[in-house]
């Protein structure tokens, strides 16, 4: 196979971009910015989804006992529900003690709430994630149970949040990607117009139109790929920081897996496609008018 054409194309790409370094840099940066936003939204919505999945795996349910109800009697009742493995009564005193334990100014907390405002509660462990929902329904139907809280409720909220974020992210990313396509198109158009003499010579020497366009597709693809690499690096940094922050903030005992690889692959692929698409458009606009 003759690799020299590729060598010449890469060499000409270097010459070409060097002629308009600022336009090329601006194109790379706008691609990087658009893809960073795109990838950022992808990572955040993915994280929320995996957080929701994590919550859905939780098998603990908390049921708060209504004022005046007998917590021990309710616990006995709860043990009869199908799918319940264990029930522990946590008294209102215990809840207050646990809460106060995490505050440095415990004395002040006790002074502020001389009458413990917390209700008694039941900590219910179920056999598996599938049993959470029916057990929650059964508990909620029991007289004397005020409120039932499970991780799956939060999961549903998170999933809804992730979906909303995905929609907003898609709209914002599309806007920025459109701007990136426009910028790369303008840059490639400039690069093509500045090489009118080379293009005329190539046509006269017998280079096909497809061969001429391939040069600019390569250059546009490279601009897009460079922008995508920049965005990918920034995204990795963001994911690294986000993982640390989540580990500090989330009281879940486990941080959801921030897997940036799918987002990175999407960013790199999209960047290259943006470059290729924009240069195809620029080549169509510029070379369509060219006469041999």
């Amino acid at each position: 196979m003759n690799w020299w054409p590729l060598y010449y194309r890469l060499r000409d790409a270097r010459y070409g971009t060097a002629r308009h370094p600022w336009a090329s840099l601006a194109a790379v940066l706008i691609v990087a910015l658009a893809l960073f936003l795109f990838g950022g939204f992808l990572v955040v919505s993915q994280t929320l989804s995996s957080l929701a999945a994590l919550l859905e795996q939780q098998v603990n349910i908390r049921a708060f006992v209504a004022a005046g109800a007998d917590a021990d009697a309710l616990a006995r009742q709860a043990r009869q529900i199908q799918g319940v493995r264990a029930v522990t009564v946590i008294s209102r005193e215990e809840t207050f003690r646990r809460l106060a334990g995490v505050f440095a100014g415990r004395a002040r907390l006790e002074a502020a709430f001389p009458d413990n405002p917390f209700p008694d509660s039941l900590k219910i462990t179920v056999a598996g994630p599938a049993a959470v929902e029916p057990v929650v329904r059964a508990l909620a139907a029991m007289p004397g149970i005020d409120e039932v809280v499970s991780g799956q409720e939060y999961a549903a909220g998170l999933l809804a949040g992730a979906a909303a974020l995905r929609a907003a992210g898609t709209a914002v990313s599309l806007g920025f990607l459109g701007a990136a396509v426009l910028m790369v198109t303008v840059t490639m158009h400039l690069l093509i117009l500045s090489r009118g003499a080379e293009i005329r010579i190539q046509r006269l020497m017998g280079v096909s139109d497809a061969g001429i366009r391939a040069q600019f597709l390569l250059e546009g693809g490279l601009l897009g790929a460079f922008g995508a690499l920049l965005a990918g690096a920034a995204l990795l940094l963001l994911v690294d920081r986000a993982a640390l922050t989540l580990a500090r903030l989330l009281p879940l005992g486990a941080v959801p897996d921030l897997a940036p690889l799918p987002a990175l692959a999407a960013v790199l692929g999209t960047g290259t496609l943006v470059g290729l698409g924009a240069s195809l458009l620029a080549a169509h606009l510029a070379l369509g008018r060219e006469r041999p």
Partner: protein
């Protein structure tokens, strides 16, 4: 020098209009050029000389009639395939200012994927052929007009074309350089078995070489001289060449 087969050219009743309703740029031109033959195409501005050349390198298509290069209808093959067998030279040299003479010539081979070493070797050979062996590393801005045109000729020859088409190759040059460029083309033609077609206004150069001269006027072939004529002035008169008798291989009124 590598010998290769030369191309025959035939135009059969070719008509070309740029816009409907306009007078034709070429109006029923029929012309044959034998393999290895050198033909000057002369005539006043707007006579259709450049259009004729454009049809030969497929930059334009005829409205009717056929343009045959080496027996193949130009309309039936992709333009780029045809052009790989041609060497095309223009009045404006179309050199790349940021490249040296050697790089400009080698570029003509590189764009077709010739490896760098071979492209450079071919470029040196061609620059030597056009008498620029000592100026290979000069940039176009460091060369005279005539030298720049010789670089352009070397680039047109670098892929060993079988048909050389030159459109006013001396149009931008003073008489001395114009003479030099035509002598270079003549030297090339003597060593290189290619068919050559040169469009020009320079009557004195045409008369000196004693080659076939085809005269076009208003898109028609009005005369076809096969060597040896003396134009009355320095430039060919708009009214036509001295009549040598009936045109050979020509059509028209």
């Amino acid at each position: 020098m590598v010998g290769r087969s030369r191309l025959e050219i035939r135009l059969e009743n070719v008509v070309k209009r740029y816009r409907p309703g306009d007078p034709p740029a070429l109006d029923g031109v029929t012309l044959s050029v034998a393999p290895g033959e050198w033909v000057f195409i002369v005539g006043p501005s707007g006579a259709g000389k450049t259009t004729l050349l454009k049809l030969l390198y497929a930059a334009e298509r005829p409205d009717s009639g056929r343009v045959l290069v080496d027996g193949t209808d130009v309309a039936a093959v992709p333009a780029f395939r045809l052009r790989r067998r041609l060497g095309i030279i223009f009045q404006h040299f179309e050199l790349l200012p940021a490249r040296t003479a050697l790089e400009n010539v080698a570029y003509g081979a590189e764009v077709l994927g010739v490896p760098p070493r071979e492209a450079a070797a071919r470029a040196r050979e061609m620059l030597d052929l056009v008498g620029l062996a000592g100026k290979m590393d000069r940039f176009p801005s460091e060369l005279s007009g005539g030298e720049q045109q010789r670089v352009a000729i070397a680039r047109a020859l670098v892929n060993r074309p079988q048909l050389i088409l030159a459109d006013e190759p001396t149009g931008d040059l003073d008489p001395e350089n114009a003479d030099h460029v035509i002598r270079v083309l003549d030297t090339v033609h003597r060593q290189w078995p290619a068919t050559v077609m040169v469009v020009t206004h320079a009557a004195d150069l045409v008369s000196r070489l004693e080659r076939r001269v085809v005269r076009l006027e208003r898109g028609r072939v009005t005369a076809d001289y096969r060597g040896g004529y003396s134009p009355p002035g320095r430039d060919l008169p708009a009214s036509g060449l001295p009549a040598p008798g009936p045109a050979q291989g020509a059509s028209g009124p």
